[in-house]
Symmetry: C2
Amino acid sequence: MTSTHPMWLTGNTPLRGRTLHVAGEHRLLDSVRSDAAEHGLRLIDDDTADVVFAPSGDAGRFGVSEADVARLGPEGFVAARTGERTVVAYGGAAGALYGWFQLLRDAAGHDAPAAVTRCEPERELRMLDHWDNVAVHPVMGQVERGYAGGSIFFDDGRVRGDLARVERYGRLLASIGINRVAINNVNVHAREARLLTDDLPDVARIAAALRPWGIRLHLSVSFAAPMVLGGMPTADPLDAGVQQWWAAAAAHVYGAIPDFGGFVVKADSEGQPGPFAYGRDHADGANMLARALAPHGGLVHWRAFVYNHRQDWRDRKTDRARAAYDHFAPLDGRFDDNVLVQVKYGPLDFQTREPVSPIIPGLRRTRVTLELQVTQEYTGHQRHAVYLAPQWREILDFRPFGDDGPRIAEVARGGMAAVANVGDDAYWTGHPLAQANLYAYGRLAWDSTLDPAAILDEWIGLTFGPDEAVRRGIHAVLDDSWLTYEAHTAPLGVCFMVNPHHHYGPSVDGYEYSPWGTYHFADRDGVGVDRTVATGTGFAGQYPEPWASTYESLDTVPDELLLFFHHVPYTHRLHSGRTVIQHIYDTHFDGVERVDRVVAQWAGLRDAVDAALHERVSERMAEQLRSAVEWRDQINTYFLRKSGIADERGREIY
Amino acid sequence: MTSTHPMWLTGNTPLRGRTLHVAGEHRLLDSVRSDAAEHGLRLIDDDTADVVFAPSGDAGRFGVSEADVARLGPEGFVAARTGERTVVAYGGAAGALYGWFQLLRDAAGHDAPAAVTRCEPERELRMLDHWDNVAVHPVMGQVERGYAGGSIFFDDGRVRGDLARVERYGRLLASIGINRVAINNVNVHAREARLLTDDLPDVARIAAALRPWGIRLHLSVSFAAPMVLGGMPTADPLDAGVQQWWAAAAAHVYGAIPDFGGFVVKADSEGQPGPFAYGRDHADGANMLARALAPHGGLVHWRAFVYNHRQDWRDRKTDRARAAYDHFAPLDGRFDDNVLVQVKYGPLDFQTREPVSPIIPGLRRTRVTLELQVTQEYTGHQRHAVYLAPQWREILDFRPFGDDGPRIAEVARGGMAAVANVGDDAYWTGHPLAQANLYAYGRLAWDSTLDPAAILDEWIGLTFGPDEAVRRGIHAVLDDSWLTYEAHTAPLGVCFMVNPHHHYGPSVDGYEYSPWGTYHFADRDGVGVDRTVATGTGFAGQYPEPWASTYESLDTVPDELLLFFHHVPYTHRLHSGRTVIQHIYDTHFDGVERVDRVVAQWAGLRDAVDAALHERVSERMAEQLRSAVEWRDQINTYFLRKSGIADERGREIY
């Protein structure tokens, strides 16, 4: 295929031919009008239209009750349906935009929508972070951890001239409720640093392409920018000259992009510069930037991914999992209001299975942005079909203070951000089914209580239409795919058995003697990391109760996180009744069988979906199966060689 | 330092001020004259000079007996000394050149040379192979497996304009008896393929720079050249058009370079094209090229490094060590006279410790070129001080047919080749002490019976002058350095515990689940590769007796090769009396202690050698020590975790 896949906005809708009236004047209302026209609705200036959008204050005229629209925020809307007529009462123009895309979703769904639907986003900040480089990085490529081709923003060392695709991207993101996008990699190399200055006119063009869709642009910046770009002798956040440099830089940016979102900063992390060089702490660094942005309404996303990446593997007391809490908990309460501390969901690094990071509940007086990863860095590089919404729901549903306390979705008051998974690939995401992850992320950022299967239903209906066989087939492929991936990769929450650097495919000892702080300590007797307070690194004690105790004890730690918290013998018996070693063998054989079934399920859809798309997915699935077999055999062989314990069922291990 | 280190030709010699007469006319005699002048000798046209060079037929006039010069070959010479007078009777002009450098060596030595010395090279073909790329390769760089900067031949995607350094290199090589140089990488990429055609004028410039030093230039060529360069539809060696293409290409090369040496070919190896694509074998491929070169006196070096590099690690019957024999033994007798089958010394790949490749004695009717590696790919990347001459002597002294049979030095009738270790680094070799390896390689190629310690003495005397403390210190650093490196790296001939791709530093399981065919099969009970005929891959049976039986049996296999041939329990007792596991611990602790002592020895020379050189070596030694500790700890920890057997002496393992 040479044209670009439309993702879930195909232009097909049962609303085609209906009349539409959008009351009010706003560029976002114009976007509603133009998108509706593209979907074949007839725009009329008449209150009797089939579909009417009206400000919530006027909605009474159309039979929407005042109670329904009470205290409706600027991004909220109420959709009221009577017979063939739909009225969308919007709190603000953004609400109209989101209401319009909700109508498209409802029309594609197979259940009739409720008579009155009131929708507001759970959180104001719903963000996507692109790890795109302007210049192709010699190791990381154009898009760091990107598995879908080049960047949609940058090409050949500069901002693309033609931003038509960025506009389409903005529309797609608006349709799932995303309202902020950081366009460049948190690892800010020399070329990328200049986006803040020399390239501002081009960055402004990107902002202009996203603005009609209610999306504000953010930039990742280098903490060393005053030195790298400004030629100053220091980047000390307490230096008055540095503060002035940043204030001027911010003012300059807002001169070009009045609705600029703010800065994303990876500081003192994996070699990036930061305040430590000057004996300052992260609050000093973040607040300095925050004060430059505050006059303009900008935000600082200050990442908590700070740890010693030059650890001595011999040192079993140092624990990378502790690092974010150790660094940031002492700073709680010191961050300015427009600082958001952005925390990866787990204490390590976007693993297939990790506990939720304890620094999220640990920062009670700080706005925490939860960071997810849509791009499949550790979950199969968009060669494996892995639907991540079930993982995200588990994270969002985690109640760090126990059953009576709030969910992570509520605890993380600084909204949600996620690393994007799109590129200039014709299908946007390399693997066509990976589009579902982007879709689901937006939907969960809007409403974290949505059911992953229901979200998938929406995505399938919009993307593939109403074919029931396709719906069932894709559910069969994706519903349990995260657990399938977990089954044939690193077992029981032990993490990091991937190939170093690129993070694809198995390498059980790949990180075992490395400086990266990610070890499993497998020996002939057992495996796992003792992170207990009693005998280990003490990480379990970073959680509030009941989790500190739950994770501390072998009696209560969940099976799926056993090896994250404990070093146990291979003969240790899980709550499931199986031994650890037998669990490893069983899940790895089972994982491949599950992939086998998935491949067959997809093959059965050959005549039901677009041929080119089917072929693309089939190619990836051949690799998924090969890779799953490789995972199974390496993991099983490794642990058989170490443990000497045969598989109870006598299956082939090499 | 900004200027280039002179290596062992410093210009200092006790011969300075002596008078010299060189009788005869030849460009190589001119080289003797100019080099002698550079060394401060006074050229006179007078038989009474202190030093006289004369053709062997004339030597009687100077008191050299006819018996002494009988049957002297074109590269041979006789040096006769009476009092202060020296007469060099040369068989040919090349003999005069080598005689001149022998005089320099003798003058720098601390023992008086013999009254009459007759010298001839053991073998005609004494070659260095450069793995230099014209264009910087994205992964392999400018020089594949190069640890000394860029190429001395190529820069910025083309042949260097200024070849002064190549001329100096030619002089250095002549001084150690090298007479052939292949200038480009055996992995011939698209850019490099064009050396054969478009770049010929530039290649001819390199040949011209080497010619005054008696060195013939060879090119590595792509077997697919008729397709890549000639636009032909095939490279089938039995295709008449392909044969004509090569004949024309060879004629074209000889038109530009009349003394061109020939082609080096890596075919059907690690992805390089070859005759297999057309259902032909290596003899078909090599002979086709040989016939294109034969009319011009050219040679084909056809490499035997052919194996399946996409092996399934699960398959324990396939054995990469068998590959060269399996591929080439059936072809014995089918190669044309000007084909040299070039064989790496070991059956795997330039490992620190391997048995000698059985295909060398296996090709009784084929001229085999023994291939050594001067560049320290698997022996510490010229960060570790590792003097390789002792390893080479062991290889050269190996008697494949038993005590009464010939040495490998004699069996390999196609001469010696080695991968070069120089680059555009100021010291030529990165690590200044790695110069000794280049020196020793040339000397052993000339005379394989030279003692490594004596060669080192020569090199030290020429390079550092007569300081006895320096001599002792460098001997202390280098004499046992190969065994030291072996001690702290992969034990007992097990091979390949290095990091994949770059091959520096430990990664015990780095290749264990890879497709490269290099495994150690360590499990909780034991380690090693069963290559016996009785129960293993049968590789041991590729040797003639007595070695087939010697390697087959645990009673007779040498300790240092135990794990190359056998899979044994950690408790297996070596001939040394130690168990395998205790040997591993002991040698790894000992290896680091040895490096510690080496560092101290070198520190003691601080005031005795050039400060910049001392500093360069000291920097490298800091890395050598760090790396040795890393090797020790990773290997010991790995095997402690696997075996569960504690060190008898209770030393720290992690």
